[in-house]
């Protein structure tokens, strides 16, 4: 009987752990903002994480709208075309 109780207890313990694991599988908040500090907290995070000027220096390059336009300008100016091809969208950093 002792072994059976032990097995039962272990089974229950495992089940409780699995259920608890499922219930808390999402990451816990480090400090949940209260209703009172909600706007300050959210505004702070948005300001902190939005792209900085340094992270958008890509915009400082004078990119042509198309390869056709770039080749036309290249032909007229004598400057070579620099072409970068990619999967995804480099303008938004999703590539």
């Amino acid at each position: 009987m002792q072994i059976q109780y032990h097995s039962l207890f272990r089974g229950l313990a495992v089940a409780v752990c699995l259920l608890a694991g499922g219930a808390i599988s999402l990451p816990a908040a480090e400090k949940e903002p209260t209703d009172a500090d909600l706007k300050v907290w959210t505004d702070g995070k948005v300001a902190q994480w939005r792209p900085t000027a340094a992270e958008r220096r890509f915009d400082e390059i004078g990119w042509s709208e198309s390869l056709t336009a770039a080749r036309q300008l290249s032909s007229e100016s004598g400057r070579p075309v620099f072409l970068f091809t990619l999967d995804g969208r480099i303008a938004i950093g999703r590539c």
Partner: protein, 282 residues
């Protein structure tokens, strides 16, 4: 590349002074893609010629083309990502073609912009960035999410708002936003994301006349592969924020902001911030 060599002063200056820079996405260059037909044709011709000359080719690649359109040089992205190697390729072309430095031929302008949309639409700008522990690429990524005027009511409390009233945001509308809550990875086809659990709810905090402030709380568990193959990686995130809106026949959102309280992926943590952006009118 965006926050790597393309953000470094020597590369920016050299591209602007001596080249005609252009970037093209393979999605656009595909048969059904949105690139100009002339771009697709020129690209295919250039790739064939580059391969014939023994230059490296590939989908993610840097090329230098002579003013006559012929490929001169190329680098795989793994090499182009090294600023020194990229600069060396640019310098070879400048020397070979005896290029004289000058002003940019195309005026630089922001490349990540709100999409054009119907007047009265709600445009949200989402930023995702790594915070700690790895699991994603460095750098920051962005998405623009649009809700058309007729959809805005589905984001807000139904009926007359009262303090304490709670509601569940239309699941389809919430999904449009939450599917972009993932860090900087190689796979950006959100149709491959699999949402396992999601919720986005509102709770009215205050009502002053027709102006309402409500708290937003969200939760997400979503399968998202780092590359385009199954790797079991999962985003787990909790989000909090607020929405301020005016009630009426056509409710109007004055402000909407959200941020992750905690978000994990691939053993690392990342942060996502969402804010309302000015829409570009059609």
């Amino acid at each position: 590349m965006r926050t790597g060599p393309f953000s470094q002063t020597p590369v920016i200056e050299k591209l602007n002074a001596c080249f005609v820079p252009v970037y093209l996405s393979q999605e656009d260059l595909a048969a059904e893609g949105t690139a100009l037909a002339s771009d697709k044709q020129a690209y295919q011709q250039m790739i064939r010629e580059a391969a014939g000359k023994g230059l490296s080719t590939g989908t993610v690649h840097a090329f230098v083309l002579a003013p006559e359109g012929h490929p001169l040089d190329s680098l795989h992205v793994a090499e182009a990502a090294k600023a020194k190697t990229l600069l060396a390729m640019l310098d070879r072309a400048i020397a070979k073609l005896k290029v004289e430095a000058g002003k940019p031929l195309v005026a630089p302008k922001p490349q990540s912009c709100a999409p054009e949309c119907e007047p009265g639409s709600l445009v949200l700008h989402l930023t995702s960035r790594p915070l700690a522990g790895g699991g994603s690429w460095d750098g920051v990524s962005e998405n623009w999410i649009v809700y058309e005027p007729g959809e805005i009511g589905g984001l807000l409390s139904p009926g007359k708002p009262a303090v304490g009233m709670t509601w569940k945001i239309d699941e389809k509308l919430a999904t449009r936003l939450l599917t972009h809550v993932y860090p900087v990875t190689e796979n950006n086809d959100v149709t491959k994301n699999q949402i396992l659990e999601q919720s986005l709810t509102g709770r009215v905090l205050s009502v002053e006349g027709n102006r309402v402030l409500a708290r937003l709380d969200g939760r997400l568990k979503m399968r998202h592969n780092f590359y385009h193959k199954d790797d079991g990686n999962t985003v787990e995130a909790t989000l909090t924020g607020y929405v301020e809106f005016e009630t009426g026949e056509r409710p109007r959102i004055k402000s909407l902001k959200l941020a992750t309280q905690k978000a994990t992926y691939g053993g690392g943590e990342f942060g996502v911030a969402v804010t309302q952006a000015a829409a570009a009118s059609r």
